[in-house]
């Protein structure tokens, strides 16, 4: 409604109109500089951050021109050099036929990337993205100069996925920095960046990154298709995109991976995954992804394979502990006491003697308490930190046990569960375990081991039905691909992982092998 009205009105005001690609009426530039300036100002809403500088060229004294840019989102240094070049332009015009417009483009502007535009809207949107604009009197075209810049965070160590060994660079909020970080790692001409703009109001830049020939073509097309279908007014974080493009709407499991680490993103690209970068967030999306990927850290590939395999087992065990331990404790203490050795049973029973609640309620209380503590830890101002830990550890833990509100064993169970949940490298998989935990606790409290088993069966059926961009979530376990098992919950040495994951990357023959055969270190061979 609003748009239509505005278009009608402007169309009435100015006769100089045309239609753009979307069929919308747009205002074309007119020869009159003053009128163009006024219309551009009006289009951008006369903000105080719009800088407008009127200039004359010494070779064209009768033709004025204006430099427009938005302060703060342009690169100060480029503006400086450009202004200097324009003001000090000593180039003599050799031919009279050469207009100021052409002269400026060809000889004066000291910036690499320029283009021209004919409509006020195009000029305005370019300025909103950080371009500078030169309007020339008498010319129907404006010069757009790419001076995008302004303040942004520098490349720092990622905070969410830390490693002991490995690169310490992390993505930033700046899309250009992020693409450069990837380019710097994969110096291949096959690396493709497809750019898109999404969000009616935010006009957020998005880059789809993949290696041509290694990523599967249909996956890349599917990523494009799904992103193009998004209709939204604003994209503030890659999470917006994730919810639009994931295969199944209702599932606790993440169907798209995210990372803050360029090396992890590149590892994905090199295995045929597609990376989606969103301007304004350091978290890039990686798809398609399988269940096991969430238990792998990029550090696994930098450390020796034996310790990596061990750590992966620890992570999987932690996932199951974080999901199952409270419910198992409830189920066994409530329904299956006979499973426990007698001394342990007696000690547990003695602890629970004064506790006024059934085990299920007790566990729920403690779990919710922990979730509150955890959330408080994330949200609180940093200065209050110690207070929270004192209250949390002493009052809610020790004092609650001494007061007989909860049993000590339950505190141990809940704390262990909590610690285990932090071991999973992917935070979103940890969240899945957190949510499932509560459902399983209810099942365990009402149906014992039978209920937990039922819950696990439903979970397995659910996971068997999940897909990420058409790839079965449980790959390579189901459907079983034996050669892919080398990099799942175990990791074999690099020289033994000759093939890229089958099914995930393109299966054109020359791309299959990433490592030459027979590269196993063997000291005896060298002498011979």
């Amino acid at each position: 409604m609003f748009n239509n009205n505005k278009n009608k009105q402007t169309a009435g005001d100015d006769k100089q109109t045309g239609t753009d690609r979307n069929g919308q009426v747009e205002q074309l530039l007119v020869p009159d500089l003053e009128q163009n300036m006024e219309r551009l100002q009006r289009f951008l809403g006369d903000g105080a951050d719009i800088v407008c500088r009127m200039l004359t060229h010494r070779s064209f004294p009768n033709q004025r021109y204006t430099l427009f840019y938005m302060d703060g989102i342009v690169d100060g240094a480029s503006i400086g050099t450009m202004l200097l070049g324009l003001l000090e332009d000593a180039n003599k015009v050799t031919e009279d036929t050469e207009g100021l417009y052409t002269h400026l483009i060809d000889r004066s502007i000291a910036v690499g990337k320029i283009r021209s535009a004919t409509a006020i809207e195009e000029v305005g949107y370019a300025m909103l993205e950080g371009s500078s604009v030169i309007l020339v009197e008498g010319s129907l075209k404006a010069i757009l100069i790419d001076t995008t810049g302004g303040e942004s965070r520098s490349v720092e160590e990622p905070t969410s996925q830390t490693v002991v060994r490995g690169p310490k660079e992390g993505f930033t909020e700046n899309l250009r920095t992020n693409t450069a970080l990837v380019r710097r790692i994969i110096k291949s001409p096959k690396l493709r960046f497809d750019y898109k703009v999404i969000g009616r109001e935010t006009r957020t830049n998005i880059a789809v990154v993949y290696l041509q020939g290694i990523a599967q073509d249909d996956v890349v097309q599917e990523v494009h298709r799904r992103i193009d279908q998004i209709e939204i007014d604003a994209i503030l974080e890659s999470g917006y995109i994730e919810e639009f493009i994931q295969d199944k709407a209702f599932t606790p499991f993440p169907l798209i991976q995210n990372t803050e680490r360029p090396d992890a993103a590149c590892a994905g690209i090199l295995e045929g995954q597609v990376v989606i970068m969103v301007s304004g967030t350091p978290f890039v999306l990686i798809a398609p992804v399988t269940f096991v990927k969430f238990f792998q850290s990029s550090e696994d590939y930098y450390q020796r394979y034996d310790i990596s395999t061990f750590l992966r087992f620890i992570r999987v065990a932690s996932f199951f502990i974080s999901m199952l331990l409270p419910s198992l404790y409830i189920a066994i203490t409530t329904f299956h006491q006979e499973m426990l050795p007698t001394p342990l049973l007696i000690s547990l029973a003695a602890q629970r003697e004064g506790v006024p609640f059934p085990a299920l309620v007790e566990a729920f209380l403690m779990e919710i308490t922990f979730e509150i503590l955890r959330e408080a830890g994330v949200r609180m101002p940093r200065i209050i930190g110690p207070a929270i830990s004192i209250v949390g550890a002493l009052v809610l833990g020790q004092a609650a046990v001494q007061a007989g509100l909860v049993s000590a064993a339950m505190v141990i169970v809940v704390s262990f569960t909590a610690i285990a949940s932090f071991v999973i490298p992917a935070v979103n998989m940890g969240s899945a375990a957190r949510l499932i935990r509560f459902a399983l606790m209810i099942l365990g409290g009402s149906f014992g081991l039978f209920g937990i088993m039922s819950g696990l069966m439903v979970l397995l059926a659910h996971m068997s039905g999940l897909r990420s961009f058409g790839k079965p979530y449980l790959l390579p376990f189901s459907p079983l691909i034996v050669s892919n098992l080398k990099d799942t919950f175990i990791r074999v040495p690099w020289w033994a992982m000759r093939k890229r994951p089958i099914g995930m990357s393109s299966n054109r023959v020359p791309n299959q092998h990433r490592i030459g055969g027979g590269k196993r270190p063997d000291p005896d061979q060298e002498g011979a």
């Binding site: 299956h336 499973m339 069966m457 068997s464 459907p479």
Partner: protein, 368 residues
């Protein structure tokens, strides 16, 4: 689409299914394992000469479609319908086995109706996902379950419970009781139950070189060997008691004590049996739902609801576990199941062969 490996996995778990609950061929006492081998070989003959042949003649149709094609609309519908009843009944038996097992070993105080409801719901959830989801699920479950079984066997062995001397003397009373125990009971349960796969084979990705047949038979032989070994272990550890106890395998594991850490592992073992029986009942539930969907031309998701309700209500027909086992072993295995597993498939195969012959003769006549 189902991969051949998923098919084999499902055949294995389906056959192991609830057969580990009972001492198969218990009438043959310590020679039960020989009965199992005989039953397995006879079942293999039935599978490769009848059931798989039907599939080979019509690789892209399931049983219901084959019935409709060869017996006409009305008789085909009737045959399809009684097979839905048969699948549902088999499913009901498994639901009851699972429910009663749970009440006996895990949840003595929980009402039966609640447990049956839970079982129907978790079965239904997998069924609604369709055959793709179910078969993928089984592929993941199989290695886990086989691993646990192996650990269990090792535990039984290391606890010194297995004494193969209990199998001796072999064939003490001659061959007749062994043969009687195998025919037709062990064919009917579990080996003849492969007739259910007539509902699933057509979903397998076939590359035209008999992969379906090969993988099915491989899975069958693996499962047969597994069941035989389990039988030997049960007899070896319990001896004469094996025939008397409610669930012999569980009985055997109650004697296992893992140091002082786990006093009794039988709840864990019952979970193992739980998974296998769950796979079996879901397979039947899925088969019945697919049959229902084809017969009444509705979507699988919709078909799963009436079938599920039927299974839930039908489960209360048995008065107790003993009643269920008794009905099963005394009458079903001897008289009822062979009709569905042997008689009807053979009749169907003969009709198919005859029609094919008539048709090919007709074609020849046309050529002349």
């Amino acid at each position: 689409m189902i991969t051949p490996r998923q098919l084999a996995s499902t055949v294995i778990l389906f056959l192991i299914g609830s057969s580990s609950l009972f001492l198969l061929g218990g009438n043959a006492d310590r020679d039960a394992w020989i009965s199992v081998i005989i039953g397995m070989l006879a079942g293999l003959l039935l599978l490769s000469c009848v059931t798989l042949q039907i599939q080979k003649l019509e690789p892209d149709r399931n049983l219901i479609e084959i019935f409709k094609l060869y017996f006409g609309r009305i008789i085909g519908f009737m045959f399809g319908f009684i097979y839905i009843i048969y699948y549902c009944y088999k499913c009901i038996r498994n639901v009851r086995e699972l429910a009663d097992l749970s009440i006996m070993y895990l949840l003595p105080d929980t009402p039966l109706s609640m447990i049956i409801l839970m079982i129907c719901l978790i079965g239904g959830y997998a069924v609604i996902g369709g055959p793709g989801v179910f078969f993928r699920m089984v592929e993941v479950l199989l290695p886990i379950l086989v691993m646990i079984y192996v650990v269990l066997f090792i535990l039984l062995l290391s606890a010194g419970l297995i004494d193969l001397g209990r199998l001796l003397p072999i064939l003490e009373k001659g061959f007749k009781p062994v043969w009687d125990a195998a025919m037709p009971e062990i064919i009917s349960f579990p080996f003849g139950e492969m007739v259910l796969f007539l509902m699933f084979w057509r979903y397998t990705a076939e590359d035209g070189d008999g992969t379906v047949m090969r993988m099915t038979i491989k899975g069958y032989i693996f499962a047969g060997a597994f069941i035989t070994i389990m039988n030997i272990i049960t007899i070896g550890s319990l001896g004469q008691f094996a025939g008397w106890s409610v669930v012999p395998l569980l009985q055997a594991t109650t004697f296992v004590q893992l140091g002082n850490i786990l006093e009794r592992i039988d709840p864990l073992v019952s979970l193992l049996l739980f998974s296998a029986v769950y796979v079996k009942l879901t397979a039947y539930y899925l088969g019945a739902s697919i049959a229902f969907a084809y017969l009444f031309r509705v979507k699988l998701r919709i078909a799963a609801i009436p079938v599920g309700i039927g299974i839930y209500v039908g489960s209360f027909w048995f008065r107790s576990y003993m009643h269920q086992v008794n009905v099963g072993f005394e009458s079903n295995l001897k008289f009822h199941f062979p009709i569905f597993q042997i008689v009807i498939p053979i009749v169907l195969l003969l009709v198919m062969l005859m029609r094919k012959k008539v048709r090919s003769r007709g074609n020849h006549a046309g050529d002349d």
